[in-house]
């Protein structure tokens, strides 16, 4: 079965600055991916290359098995919802939506009608007159209604209120269940989004430092709290990504292969064993540069 997206030694340079350092990755079809990374890690760069808004300096990109550049058939299957849209400034919301409906051949009009009501879009307003939250809502509506087989949301939340975000996850999930498609969510609201994700990819300084399923990650990303010596003993040959001491107790965040035997051992030795939340894991892994204590 072919992949939704394949990247082979993708490199992107802006002058002397290297934004993507020869990354390799694959995205499987019909899964929900989370693309995480600090500001400037290269997420938007990567997503723009997938959508051919940008060109890679070296390497290959394939979408649904074909190269996307100037490929009308493939580009029609990709919907990239971007964070900003200055070029839309003078257009009315209804015009923007009308254009989107023409450009995406899988567009679902009745779904769009539903979404306009749910997200409370003001059709007659000019884009520049919308609040940040409304602009985000517009992007989300387009992404959802496009029904594009590869739908990418690049930081779709700016200014969106909690209720609208909840609505987004709700509708996204329900629609994905009924009409599966490959979805990529690039966001900073990590814990909020983690429940709906199946796989995550973490970019850091232009490199992919992690690419796995959330399931697998949860078995490897663990925090241990207890007496300092017990913690040290338990973690002596594990990769520690964060370590904090409070008096005689310590909390260690580890990321390593861990067996259920070890977990039971720890539990029975008066150590508090918890799974790291995705956000905490992300923070530690991106702060931890050397990979050792």
């Amino acid at each position: 079965m072919e992949y939704a997206v394949e990247g082979l030694k993708l490199k992107k340079k802006y002058g002397k600055e290297i934004a993507l350092q020869e990354i390799d990755f694959t995205l499987e079809r019909n899964k929900i991916y989370g693309l995480l990374g600090r500001n400037g890690a290269g997420k938007t760069t990567l997503l723009n290359i997938i959508g051919t808004n940008s060109f890679q300096t070296k390497g290959e990109i394939r979408v649904f098995g074909e190269k996307p550049f100037e490929n009308s058939k493939v580009l029609d299957q990709i919907c990239l919802v971007k964070e900003s849209g200055n070029y839309l400034a003078h257009l009315k919301v209804q015009d923007i939506i009308k254009l989107a409906s023409k450009f995406y051949s899988n567009w679902d009009n009745s779904f769009k009608e539903e979404l306009i009501i749910k997200f409370n879009l003001k059709m007659n307003k000019r884009y520049s007159a919308l609040s940040k939250g409304m602009k985000s809502a517009l992007g989300i509506v387009i992404g959802l209604a496009s029904r594009a087989p590869l739908t990418i949301y690049d930081e779709p939340y700016l200014g969106l209120d909690a209720t609208s975000r909840w609505l987004f996850y709700d509708i996204l999930l329900k629609d994905y269940i009924e009409n599966p498609r490959t979805i990529v969510l690039s966001t900073h609201l990590i814990d909020e989004v983690s429940k709906v994700l199946e796989n995550i990819i973490i970019l850091d300084e232009g490199k992919i430092i992690l690419s796995e399923s959330l399931e697998d990650l949860r078995t490897k990303a663990i925090s241990l709290t207890g007496r300092v010596d017990l913690v040290e003993e338990a973690t002596k040959d594990k990769r520690i990504i964060n370590y904090q001491i409070f008096g005689r107790s310590a909390t260690a965040a580890i990321y390593d292969n861990i067996s259920s035997v070890e977990i039971n051992e720890w539990k029975s030795s008066a150590l508090e064993v918890k799974a790291l939340t995705l956000q905490d894991f992300f923070i530690y892994i991106t702060l931890d540069k050397k990979g050792a204590k």
Partner: protein, 118 residues
């Protein structure tokens, strides 16, 4: 059912145990229809693949079964099956935990027997 993100227990396991709890509590009765994978995922806002794993695990051990075209149903004898499994775990999890805590607090086994008798 509450899905806890920092519980060491994998989410799919929280799901299958949550459904088992519902069966034990009588919220779900035998031969009654349970939520399908998709309904479950939509209701709790979790990824369907994760929900599927939790539910399919229960199907595999025979606690739930699928009626084609109709959905997921609770098997006859599910309650008994779950009770047996839980009893075994009870000793492993609760008793052991209690003993560890007792050791931490310096409570002897005799003191524990006394407390239980009361």
């Amino acid at each position: 059912m509450n899905i806890s993100l920092d519980d060491i227990k994998p989410i799919y396991l929280q799901i299958s145990e949550g459904i088992e709890d519902d069966i034990l509590k009588g919220i779900l009765e035998e031969k009654e229809q349970a939520l399908s994978t998709n309904q479950f995922a939509a209701q709790y806002q979790i990824n369907p693949a994760t929900a599927a794993k939790g539910i399919n695990d229960l199907v595999e051990v025979g606690i739930l079964y699928k009626k084609r075209g109709l959905g997921m149903f609770v098997a006859v004898g599910a309650r008994k099956q779950i009770l047996e499994k839980r009893k075994k775990e009870f000793f492993k999890v609760y008793i052991t935990k209690m003993l560890i805590e007792a050791e931490k607090l310096g409570i002897t086994k005799d003191e524990i027997f006394e407390m239980i008798k009361k």
